[in-house]
Amino acid sequence: MQGPGDFEVSRRDVLKLGAAATAVPLVAKGQAGSPAEAPVSTQLSLNVNGKVHALKLDTRTSLLDALRDHLQLTGSKKGCDHGQCGACTVLVNGRRINSCLSLAVMHAGDKITTIEGLGTPNKMHAMQAAFVKHDGFQCGYCTPGQICSAVGMLSEVKANVPSHATTDLTAPCALTNPELRERMSGNICRCGAYSNIAEAIADAAGVPAAGRSA
């Protein structure tokens, strides 16, 4: 065990080391045992919104970047690129995922649905129409992710997947307002349109909106 004095000394050492560490950022080249640095590209086909696309991609390409930069499907948004905001949510085989935290190369053979595959301005999906009707957005940047997430979320409720808000794990799931809010919490809306989004989703799902319940 160290005494408090020793601890102080070691803390100062830590700081010195810390400063030294910041002086030389990591350098890849020439590090012992470091493998080749050349990008690796791979051929794959992605089934997006019912269309199969043949792509040659760097293995590092995320599913999100494949959609946005290579297929020009920029409906899926990059908000954080680290699974912290939900703006990139797409449906893969009907399940909602963060497309930023998945590699494109891992999705050969999957059925990917993006916001563009749900509906178009002239023929909106019921969830898209509900968002417009209830003003379930402001800037619109999180919106495609919210909508894809909401569609995936309703399937989860239907499949009786419980949530943190579920009171009885053994009873059938129902989409109450607390359930809806918990289940949608992986989609951040910094404009703060949550109350309207909840109404839009409840409308599309055919369940009552929250109202002024405590």
């Binding site: 400063a19 910041t22 002086a23 030389v24 950022p25 350098v27 890849a28 640095e37 990008p39 590092r60 390409t61 970047d65 946005r68 930069d69 020009q72 920029t74 899926s76 948004k77 908000g79 954080c80 690129d81 680290h82 912290q84 905001c85 916001i115 563009e116 509906g119 178009t120 301005p121 909106m124 898209q128 129409a129 009707k133 003003d135 957005f137 402001q138 800037c139 619109g140 940047y141 919106t143 909508i147 607390p178 809010r181 918990e182 949608m184 919490s185 989609n187 951040i188 809306c189 910094r190 404009c191 703060g192 949550y194 109350s195 309207n196 989004i197 929250a210 002024r212 319940s213 405590a214």
Partner: protein
């Protein structure tokens, strides 16, 4: 047109389109992923290169050496731009720190290079191969310490840092009831969902940038100045902005580095700031320390009101003027306010939604709750008693319209305030202690000159063009509504084009001046277009009626498209606000009501109910205005309960610089929210008779949460955010 005096009756009073609940006209584009944000212009820049920004690894000091060769030889890399090879750069008028640093480093994650490569993956990898050596210098990062060296800042936007009236010291000493409390608000991150992003393309010596920006004209000028080129050679395009909240008022590193990268790589370049860089690379709402002293008489009237504020910023940066709202919100003859600014080496502080008033109200609206309790008055009643219709610092100046009492009383009635138990900690629902809180919302209603161009095409469609931006505020729709109302066409025959420096210069989006100013500019252009129609038809403008797409004068009834002819008919004008702003105070008002539950054992806080009753002149589009208010209420809940950019005072940076560690509210944090607008119009400010609502909603709401937590628990936390650990310690 010049707006010089209080507006009489005008065409906007018809309210056939204006004032009607209208879904956003761009809503379907946003809901289907078709709205084009900064990074998403495939047709215009089909084969762009990708830029990745490298940020400084130290908070203050110098780069002693920088070896870019590893990056330059890295696969796919086309160019590496640093301060050394970027060519001469100036700095924009609105920028405090440099957007491309070197060799001097002014703050952590300040951009020091952009690596341009064929693909995003190659650019990101290239950025890790730059070897940088730094010489660190000690910096000042702790506001509590720097407070002692804070100085009186210069006036900004016409606001003096200090004010005084009567004899505060004497009145405070004599007051039978008084409080003297100090409050802390931390730095906040805008954390808008769309990162700072830009595409830049050069054509000869002309530059076009597709970016995410709130103020097109200012940013065009600043980008041109930074690049030392004439502004007319720069085009800025920003029709959709994924949230700004003040963070995108000015240009940031993304747009400059995209331009420099594109010049170096000789092709269009797109740059988005990685999320983990945003908090430290860009701007934030500065932290404040505020002292509030209030004295009140036995009748509950405020006799002494002092509000002092200390904040910090980079050298040359502005201060967070947290005391401005305290000057005139409540009555009281004896008062003083002051703002002091310290120099800090943290990233640049700048405007975030309701700068000054948001953090200011976080403090003094708790203080009002505290003094009301001391006096033994209900906090709603206390605020009613201390209402004023004049500026208490300059009583000759009256409010153009002020219905705060009505906001408070309407809200109290709707919220069931009378059921509140004034005794803290007395209401329990199962495991939860339940409390109610109230606070006033108060925010200025400024205007800015604003231009627009309106054209009728032979098809009869009306096209509006202005460089106004829509950052989620609903500009597209209210501008469309204004044009539809003025030109006598249904809304679906109006096309609104925004956010392009090729369009007339508008107010832009900021300071909750956007809606009223930009629609007034469109109003002015429409009046001019109506005159052109009258001229073309050979009738007097005042005899012209336009309705349902037809111009009618006497026996003439001609379809607008026909009047316009194949050439179309166009008019451009701008509104210049030239009223005597000294006569009236122009403000917006509201009352926030919040119910919270606080877990009796663990101190977890949950907001259970929220209501805002607002008074903001004419409401142009009620659902969009509601959305502004509830969004601001949500942001205020964040500020009350969780948001804090934490400073590492040794290293000198914001530690929690991503969206996992800087927590903003999620769905589960926000209950159903109610928002009510009082019917009103204010003809003294603009022909639209509207005021702003974009910032009103965040003022006071955090204090209402804090006051509700106090009512639930009896714990008065004066150091935001009110987290579990602080409740446990109190």
């Amino acid at each position: 047109m010049k707006f010089t005096q209080t507006e009489g009756k005008n065409r906007t009073d018809r309210q056939k389109v204006i004032g009607k609940a209208t879904p956003r006209i761009e809503g379907a584009l946003k809901a289907t992923g078709k709205a084009t944000y900064a990074y998403e212009w495939h047709d215009i820049a089909p084969k762009p290169a990708f830029g990745y920004v490298l940020g400084a690894a130290i908070a203050k000091g110098r780069i002693t050496s920088m070896d870019t060769s590893g990056a330059e030889s890295s696969a796919g890399v086309l160019a590496v731009v640093t301060a050394e090879n970027a060519g001469p750069l100036d700095k924009g008028n609105f920028n405090v720190v440099k957007l491309l640093a070197g060799p001097e480093i002014q703050h952590y994650h300040q951009a020091i290079a952009v690596i341009v490569a064929r693909t995003f993956e190659e650019a990101r990898a290239g950025a890790t191969k730059i070897k940088v050596r730094y010489a660190s210098e000690p910096g000042v990062y702790d506001l509590e310490v720097a407070k002692e060296t804070a100085v009186k800042p210069p006036a900004r936007w016409g606001n003096e840092p200090d004010s005084a009236a009567g004899d505060f010291a004497g009145a405070f000493a004599a007051a039978p009831f008084k409080i003297d409390a100090t409050y802390h608000t931390p730095a906040h991150s805008h954390a808008m969902m769309e990162p700072f992003a830009s595409i830049a393309a050069w054509k000869g010596d002309e530059l076009t940038v597709w970016t995410a920006n709130q103020m097109i004209a200012w940013s065009r000028a600043d980008l041109a100045k930074t690049l030392k080129m004439p502004p007319e050679k720069v085009r800025v395009v920003s029709p959709y902005v994924g949230g700004g909240f003040g963070g995108k008022l000015w240009i940031r590193a993304d747009v400059l580095l995209a331009a420099l990268g594109a010049r170096a790589a000789k092709r269009p370049v797109k740059v988005a700031l990685p999320r983990p860089m945003m908090a430290n690379n860009t701007v934030h709402r500065p932290a404040t320390i505020q002292r509030v002293r209030l004295g009140a008489g036995k009748d509950g009237k405020i006799t002494a009101f002092a509000h002092e504020n200390w904040a910090g910023n980079q050298k040359g940066g502005s201060t967070e003027t947290a005391t401005l709202a305290s000057r005139a919100l409540y009555a009281g003859a004896n008062r003083m306010t002051s703002n002091r600014n310290a120099t800090l080496d943290l990233p640049e502080g700048n405007a975030m939604r309701a700068p000054g008033d948001a953090p200011g109200s976080m403090a003094f609206e708790i203080a009002i709750d505290e003094i009301a309790e001391k006096v033994g008055l209900d906090p709603v009643e206390f605020r009613v008693i201390n209402d004023t219709q004049v500026n208490p610092e300059k009583p000759a100046q009256t409010y153009s319209t002020r219905k705060l009492i009505q906001c408070l009383k309407t809200g109290a009635e709707k919220f069931g305030w009378s059921k509140r138990n004034a005794k803290p900690g007395a209401v329990r629902d199962g495991n939860w202690l339940v409390g109610l809180g109230v606070a006033t919302a108060y925010r200025g209603a400024p205007t800015m000159n604003s231009g627009a161009r309106v054209r009728i095409e032979s098809s009869g469609r009306v096209i509006v063009e202005t460089d106004m931006t829509d950052i989620g505020t609903g500009s597209y729709t209210i501008i469309g509504q204004t044009a539809a109302e003025m030109m006598g066409v249904p809304l679906d025959r109006v096309d609104v084009r925004l956010g392009d420096s090729n369009f007339p210069v508008s107010a832009g989006s900021g300071g909750q001046f956007g809606a009223v100013s930009a629609t007034s500019g469109v109003y002015a252009a429409c009046l001019k277009l109506r005159e052109a129609i009258a001229t073309k038809l050979g009738v007097a403008a005042d005899t012209l009626e336009i309705d349902d797409g037809f111009a009618v004068a006497g026996s003439k009834r001609v379809a607008l498209g026909e009047v316009a002819g194949t050439e179309g008919l166009s008019a451009e004008d701008k509104i210049e606000f030239a009223t005597d702003r000294e006569k009236h105070l122009h403000y917006t008002f509201g009352a926030h009501f919040v119910e919270v539950g606080v877990h009796a054992i663990t101190s977890e806080v949950r907001v259970r109910r929220m209501l805002a009753v607002c008074h903001a002149g004419r409401i142009l589009n009620p659902p969009a205005a509601r959305n502004q208010i509830i969004g601001a209420m949500t942001m205020g809940v964040g500020a009350a309960l969780m948001e804090e950019l934490v400073v590492d005072k040794k290293v000198g940076f914001f530690v929690n610089h991503d969206l996992a560690s800087y927590e903003v509210p999620v769905h589960a944090d926000i209950p159903h929210q109610e928002c009510v607008f009082l019917d009103d119009e204010d003809p003294t400010v603009s022909p639209m008779k509207a005021l702003g609502v974009g910032e009103l909603g965040i003022c006071g709401v955090s204090a209402a949460v804090a006051n509700a937590v106090y009512n639930a628990t009896g714990k008065r936390v004066r150091d935001y955010p009110i987290t579990i650990d602080k409740l446990m310690r109190t």
